[in-house]
Symmetry: C2
């Protein structure tokens, strides 16, 4: 075994992060999956449900269950793609955008906590390495689960 065990440390960081992240989501009246879906739609308006699932690394059925309450609460809307009649596209509503905005300072506090010990250069490198890991894992040949790719 080498001294660096990325699998293990990445899992640990995610577990250590989870209570903070969950608290933010609860304060917004959202599940973590719902909050994540909203943030993806904020950055990428007009995704299909299955595109949103791919980008979130979850199954299409899982995403459908996540999205339903958001549609019901008016945080997300689903409309016909103007260029492709049989495709339905998801978008954040103004209410959904407002919900994210309300919780942004809390998310920022968690973000700052994650990189509290790192200077600006290190933060940028850390972000780059994380994206690189996501990319490598996502584009490497046939994956164990057969899950589809979600390049960013």
């Amino acid at each position: 075994m080498e001294s660096t065990n990325f699998t293990y440390v990445i899992k640990q960081v995610e577990l250590a992060l989870r209570p903070y992240f969950n608290e933010v989501c609860v304060s917004a009246g959202l599940t973590p999956a719902q909050y994540t879906a909203l943030t993806v739609l904020e950055r990428r308006p007009g995704l299909t449900s299955s595109e949103l699932a791919r980008r979130s690394f979850v199954r299409a059925q899982t995403m459908a269950a996540t999205i339903e309450p958001l549609l019901a609460d008016g945080l997300v809307r689903r409309e016909q793609d103007p260029t492709h009649r049989r495709r339905m596209l998801l978008d954040l509503t103004p209410l959904g955008a407002e919900r994210l905005k309300a919780v942004a300072p809390r998310i920022r506090a968690v973000e700052n906590l994650i990189v509290a010990e790192l200077d600006e250069d290190a933060r940028q490198n850390f972000a780059r390495y994380l994206r690189s890991a996501r990319h490598s894992l996502d584009t490497s040949g046939p994956r164990p689960s057969g899950r589809k790719r979600a390049t960013d």
Copy 2:
């Protein structure tokens, strides 16, 4: 929202990693939690069950359920602490060490995949940043869940 969303990317990396990691664990006849517990004991022999839980960022009851089958299968042993009669310490057995050794090449392949695009310096920095994130999240005041600290 800033352009770097660490919460989101860390979660995505963990999700992208999961199918690879799960496949390795299945090939070793272990659950991910069991594999993780064995690797922790490999690096830190002689932990109590609650210390092992803390280091794995899981609840003590969760760890107890994880450890039972490992004890039953003889991959882990539990013995009285020679310096503290009422403490029971967990250790990897030779059989447990062998199981980890058998699966090491597969784990190494996953490790190499995570950092496939990074040179040696970047790998070392990435490992440092991840440990720093774990440390920041772990040592910052009262945590939302009230979970205990697990400094490394």
